[in-house]
């Protein structure tokens, strides 16, 4: 496991030294702090705006970063041939893939942790309540990042960075709209449209089930069961994607 952890830690170190990550982190901190400005134009809904702005900023930037990191990592390793130096060592390809995925997730969760601290500071500063829905939305965001990273990794094992990124972004949108598509298709008189709607609902990850940001903004209660089921969905879906990614990666030729 020595090599596994070394490579995972190296992924975190890579993200820390990556200019894009640094710029995104700095921008995120700036945005979170700038929510103070938003409060100036708010009269009665300060808590709601502060929570909504903070959580949305974190979600948008972290999801964007998750797509960028997960889709670029493997193609860049192959293009630069750094992968040759790793997989020629006594390390299986699946362990390589898992350790890189772990490194990626450590980077994202560490950044989310830092952003959460700034966000909590803002809440404390404006005496806004830290509700269970906010905690649920942060857990949901972690689950969402896990799924998006797994999707990015899967496609990057056999396609280019650009193609992987386009598909992953498409799946992020489709995942958030999966429920709406299902409901719309269900109302259609056409059996084919119903089938396509249902198929896409079950095929793409239902990212909306991991999104509790609206409840957090409106200070609504989020049942623990809903959080647990969304985490379980994320873990299960990611596990399937990672297994498929591993199978593809094990067979791939590094030309």
């Amino acid at each position: 496991m020595n090599g596994f952890f070394a490579l995972a830690w190296n992924g975190f170190r890579e993200a820390r030294r990556n200019r894009v990550t640094t710029v995104v982190a700095a921008f995120a901190m700036l945005l979170l702090v700038s929510s103070s400005l938003v409060t100036q134009v708010t009269v009665h809904t300060l808590d709601r705006v502060l929570t909504d702005f903070g959580l949305s900023t974190m979600a948008i930037l972290l999801i964007g970063l998750a797509v960028f990191l997960s889709c670029g990592l493997i193609p860049q390793e192959i293009e630069r041939k750094t992968i040759f130096l790793v997989v020629s060592r006594p390390m299986s390809r699946s362990r390589f893939l898992l350790s890189r995925l772990t490194g990626n997730l450590i980077s994202l969760f560490a950044l989310q942790g830092a952003m959460t601290l700034v966000f909590f500071f803002e809440l404390w500063l404006y005496k806004s309540p830290l509700t269970s829905a906010i905690v649920a939305s942060l857990i949901g965001l972690m689950a969402e990042l896990l799924v998006i990273t797994s999707v990015g990794f899967l496609f990057s094992t056999f396609s280019s960075q650009l193609v992987s990124a386009l598909i992953t972004v498409g799946i992020v949108f489709a995942g958030h709209l999966a429920g709406d598509v299902y409901r719309l298709a269900d109302k259609s008189p056409s059996g084919f449209v119903k089938f396509v709607g249902q198929a896409s609902y079950y095929l793409v990850p239902n990212l909306d089930r991991m999104n509790f940001r609206d409840q957090a903004a409106l200070a609504l209660d989020v049942p623990m069961g809903a959080v647990a089921s969304s985490v379980a969905l994320a873990l299960g879906y990611s596990a399937v994607l990672i297994v498929i990614a591993t199978l593809i990666f094990e067979k791939r030729d590094f030309r």
Binding site: N2, G3, L7, E14, K81, F84, L85, R89, P90, D253
Partner: protein, 317 residues
Amino acid sequence: MSDADFPVQALKLTKTYRLGFFLNKHITALNGLDFSVPRGSVFGLLGPNGAGKSTTIKLLLNLVTPSSGQARLFGQSPTEHSVRRRLGFVPENPAPYNYLTGREFMSLSGRLANLSGHELDQQIAKLLGEVDLSRAANVQVRRYSKGMVQRLVLAQALLGAPELLILDEPTSGLDPIGRRQIRDLILAQREKGTTILFCTHIIPDVEAVCDQLVILVGGRKITEGPVASLLGSGGEVELIVENIAESELAFAASTLKRVERRFVFRVPEADSMRVVGEVLQKGGRLVQLNPVRLGVEEVFLQAVRDAGHTVGSESST
């Protein structure tokens, strides 16, 4: 001889790539390659660009899977982790993680090779010293020159004292000083008894370091053997004579060169004694008689011609 005597074996190794959108184009990169690398030798894989050298290396390291045939390392499949613990690898144009310092990269490589702790620290310090990178150890790799990168990657390949080194074009793109440094490091490893598979298209490097050689052209093995025997007599002798008129040497007009008062020419080895007799009979004096030895370049170019490929200016005629 057992498998253990040959750390590297290619057995009818063939690789066909399927290309195109529908994967309907087939390119044979390597065709039935057979060779065995004896323990402790420096074995050269020589060939022009596209000959299949890098494909051979990738097959040996399980970076690509063979279409048919087998690659064996220490008698086992390259997919076995145990065999990969016993080798070090330097890829062509290596690009280590450039955000790491040289020391961090060595540390990562060591951990991937299952080394750790004090032993790893000691090896890193020793190897960075051997490749003359101690002073640059804490500098990020992105600030290294190409020669420094190459030496760093060679140093990581030496972590864990591997029994086998696989080097893919280790001197490619380096200046003469950089090439000399890498060659010296390879020769030092040869002295230690490490088996080295050395893939290159740079002929002087082969002459400098290799014991045995396989020449590949178009994915096929053209010739193979000890470098000394491949460089053996070309079946001709070179004579240097004086005190004789040029007209008396008309039989060697095709190779005849005048150097001041002397004439230099080549004749088939079988005719050498007869020609020497004639020269002496005509009052000439024999200054030197040397067997003509081929260089690796001539062997290589002859092999390429034999394979039906054109060489240099031949292609324009």
